[in-house]
């Protein structure tokens, strides 16, 4: 028996171009290719969870039909990002003949993770075997794709899913799955997802599994997003010099919400910027926060970096009071 799609992002992953929500321009152009039964090299750029990977696969299915897998190779460049992969694995596949099709497709997902050298090594391969092999590249940041590659591709920009389109789709899913969702729950989904469909659907499913009724609370909990006021509290307590209490609050956020260091830093950033504290102090806090953020990427243990920031806050705060 085939495993059922219990994971909703997979269950509701578009199988054909027709099922892609929004992104009308992109979809229209891609459908044109399907009619012609031909594609150039393509580059899909845009933020996470907006349908790039889904579109690449849907396009391939629409083009090749039932046996699409025979002529399709998907590689996640973020996992295999070195030049040797390009020189060997990719090249090898590029020059093998397609099976019952005019060409095959190599889909390099998250290609912005490829090193510049690796991208450069791709250039001749894209040209030399283009008769039998087309590339689809996807990326979050087009600026990380070297120009020679951009110039070999037709570029498609994916936009964040607008609230209305997202709401509509989420409501559909709720209906099909028999989920009750409150209005503020839906709004919370829009807020936490920021146009990222994957995030929204995952949050919805997680919240629905744990709650009879999905409301804003459930969504914040599940998405490891602290409520804005919790972060504000954390800041206040730390700045008042109470390190231990601040650390307990931090632990709670990290353990209960499962927030990563990066999550906490991002929310701290939002809160500090929009807070009403002294502007000069803000600059000092943000400056140091930037350093913490950087150290998170270099370090091994998120909690130590954040604890260090709290220690800094609890010291800087006292200094502020004296003034």
């Amino acid at each position: 028996m085939t495993a059922e799609y219990e994971i909703w992002v997979e269950k509701y992953r578009p199988k054909t171009l027709d099922e892609i929500v929004d992104q009308e321009e992109v979809v229209a152009r891609l459908k044109g290719y399907v009619e012609q039964k031909n594609i150039p090299h393509l580059l899909f750029a845009g933020p996470p969870g907006t349908g790039k990977t889904a579109s690449a696969i849907a396009l391939t299915r629409d083009l090749f039909g039932e046996n699409w897998r025979d002529n399709f190779i998907e590689m996640n460049a973020s996992d295999e990002r070195g030049i040797d992969v390009v020189r060997h694995k990719i090249k090898e596949f590029a020059r093998t003949a397609p099976i019952n099709a005019p060409f095959k497709i190599i889909f390099l997902d998250e290609a912005d993770a490829l090193t510049a050298d690796a991208q450069a090594a791709l250039r001749r391969t894209m040209e030399m075997y283009s008769k039998i092999c087309r590339f689809i590249l996807s990326c979050n940041y087009i600026s990380r794709i070297i120009e020679p590659i951009q110039s070999r591709c037709a570029v498609f920009k994916f936009k964040p899913i607008p609230p209305e389109a997202m709401k509509k789709r989420l409501m559909e899913i709720c209906k099909k799955e028999g989920v009750k969702i409150t209005k503020d729950g839906l709004e919370a989904l829009i807020y936490v997802s920021g146009g990222d469909f994957r995030k929204a659907i995952n949050a919805l499913q997680g919240a629905a599994a744990l709650n009879k009724k999905v409301d804003a609370n459930a969504i914040y909990q599940i998405t490891a997003t602290a409520r804005p006021e919790e972060i504000r509290n954390l800041l206040d307590v730390a700045l008042s010099g109470n390190f231990m209490q601040a650390r307990d609050m931090l632990d709670k956020l990290m353990v209960e919400y499962g927030m990563s260091g990066e999550d906490v830093v991002s929310q701290l950033f939002r809160e500090i910027v929009s807070s009403s504290m002294d502007e000069k102090l803000k600059v000092i806090l943000i400056d140091r926060l930037g350093e913490v953020d950087f150290r998170l990427t270099e370090g091994a243990n998120d909690r130590i970096q954040l604890d260090a920031y709290l220690a800094f806050l609890s010291n800087v705060g006292k200094f502020k009071d004296k003034k």
């Binding site: 996640n76 996992d79 799955e177 599994a209 353990v255 091994a300 243990n301 970096q305 800094f312």
Partner: protein, 493 residues
């Protein structure tokens, strides 16, 4: 029957058999080659915790290059007269053959002088030993010399500086397990990997301890299982509480104490982090945390690039850095706390590797990189904790193994239940079915065999999906769908 200690039976005889970083091995090889070419080199000082291969490496060099060995260790008296006599003679006089003839060093083999455990040269009993050694080394020995020590900072700085120091690390668990596995196979013992892992964990990076424990448990057995591993926790040389007290209360450098701990720096920093705010306040706290934060950066670099050399900076900053951040020594008693376990969760290598394997699977089937796949884990965990049917479908969808499930659920029994369900219902991924289908198409003429009824049924399903002509099976599908809808509805009530 002769009883040999496995630690000796399996002591490396050649350089290649010694487990050490490539860097260390290369360095040592080069050192030896230069000697072979007649270019005297500084003595090597091999430093590090017990049972990690210092002595073995010294002997293995001699083994690999066919050198003779003269060894003086802590079991020998090593006062200045003895040092002069034994070391002086070997290092400067020409080699003496067995027949008592003199060879010049060029024709004769090189002779490796091993001064094992030099940090244990006794101040009284071995009076003048270290001084004599320093004088001899300064004169430029004509034979290669290797010193070993657990704590190089017990030696005088003068002696240390005359040597080329190579720092040995506690061996990582995976490598210890590999050695144990090899020994088991040579001894014809079937060993449960989990059992070996338990032995390795218990050894705290000391391979000798691990091999000894293994022999105690396994000798004469055909098979060992986890239950057999009940050896008592090895006594730690220093416990974390003592070392923390030294760090937090005093300014006496505690670097070496941390080096001698069974805890890796990655684990120990978590202890410091947990307890630091109990002792330090305000400015001190901020400064100390800045050192911890920098120590953590070095740990991150070690983790990502395997630059184990950087461990020493991390260790130094988390000990001496934190110590110097305080104004005065602290008095009084402080009850230190154990760090919360969740922090330790992702610290160990085997766990990180398991996680990586899981992320690879999620990435493959949900079309995303491992990095992005991380965001799926919380949701997958939730689903795995739902009804068995849902959990099993998720498990089959991602092709999770028992270990994967156990890691995600932290519950072996549940993991087994889920996997059993998957097997019972024959759950598998869509592609597998397409694969069967295509195979079937190719061999259509042949009569499907009876045993393959499972495959057959799936093919039926598949056909209806495609052609939707067979009404009967279509209805069957419908009813199946209805059932799953019901369960889902009930679920989300």
């Amino acid at each position: 029957m002769e009883r040999e200690l496995w630690v000796e039976k399996y002591r490396p005889k050649k350089l290649e058999e010694v487990i050490a970083s490539k860097e260390v091995l290369e360095k040592v090889k080069l050192w030896a080659k230069k000697w072979e070419m007649g270019k005297p080199q500084k003595p090597l000082l091999l430093a590090g915790p017990p049972g990690v291969g210092k002595t073995s490496l010294a002997h293995a060099i001699a083994g690999s290059f066919g050198w003779e060995v003269v060894e003086l260790n802590a079991s020998d008296q090593r006062n200045w007269q003895i040092i002069y006599r034994i070391v002086g003679e070997s290092a400067f006089n020409e080699t003496i053959s067995d027949e008592g003839e003199f060879y010049s060093t060029k024709e004769g083999k090189l002779k490796l002088i091993i001064l094992d455990e030099v940090d244990n040269i006794h101040k009284k009993e071995d009076f003048g030993g270290e001084g004599a050694l320093i004088k001899l080394i300064k004169r430029g020995p004509k034979q290669p010399m290797i010193l070993t020590a657990n704590d190089p900072y017990n030696l005088s700085a003068e002696l240390r500086n005359l040597c080329e120091m190579i720092q040995f690390k506690r061996l990582d668990k995976r490598r210890i397990v590999a050695v144990l596995e090899r020994i088991c196979s040579k001894e014809g013992i079937k060993a449960d990997k989990k059992a070996l892992e338990a032995i390795a964990s218990n050894a705290g990076g000391d391979l000798r301890a691990a091999i000894n424990d293994l022999q105690a448990i396994a000798e004469g057995k055909k098979e060992i299982r986890v239950e057999d591993v009940v050896t008592a926790k090895r006594v730690k040389e220093l416990d974390v509480f003592t070392v923390m007290m030294k760090i937090f209360k005093t300014k006496i450098p505690a670097y070496n104490d941390v080096m001698l701990l069974d805890e890796s720096p990655e684990d120990f920093i978590v202890w410091i982090d947990e307890n630091l705010p109990l002792e330090y306040k305000g400015e001190e706290l901020e400064e100390a945390y800045d050192y911890l934060s920098r120590a953590d950066i070095f740990l991150g670099r070690v983790r990502r690039r395997q630059f184990y050399r950087l461990w020493r900076y991390a260790t130094y900053l988390m000990s001496c850095g934190v110590q110097q951040a305080k104004k005065d020594a602290k008095k009084g008693f402080t009850r230190y706390r154990r760090p919360i376990i969740w922090q330790m969760l992702f610290q160990t290598k085997s766990k990180r590797e398991r996680l990586k394997a899981i992320l690879t699977k999620i990435g493959k089937y949900s079309h995303m990189s491992r990095r992005k796949a991380l965001e799926m884990i919380p949701f997958i965990k939730i689903l795995l904790n739902q009804s068995l049917e849902i959990a099993a479908n998720v498990a089959a969808f991602y092709n999770f193994s028992l270990d994967d499930l156990e890691f995600l659920l932290q519950d072996r029994k549940r993991a087994e239940e889920i996997l059993n369900y998957v097997r019972e219902k024959g759950l598998h991924r869509v592609e597998d079915e397409e694969f069967y289908l295509r195979q079937f198409k190719e061999t259509k003429q042949e009569e499907p065999k009876k045993e393959e009824s499972l495959v057959e049924k799936e093919i039926d399903n598949k056909k209806t999906e495609k052609s939707e002509s067979d009404k009967k099976t279509k209805d069957k599908r419908k009813s199946k769908k209805a059932v799953s809808d019901v369960t889902l509805d009930k679920f989300f009530e």
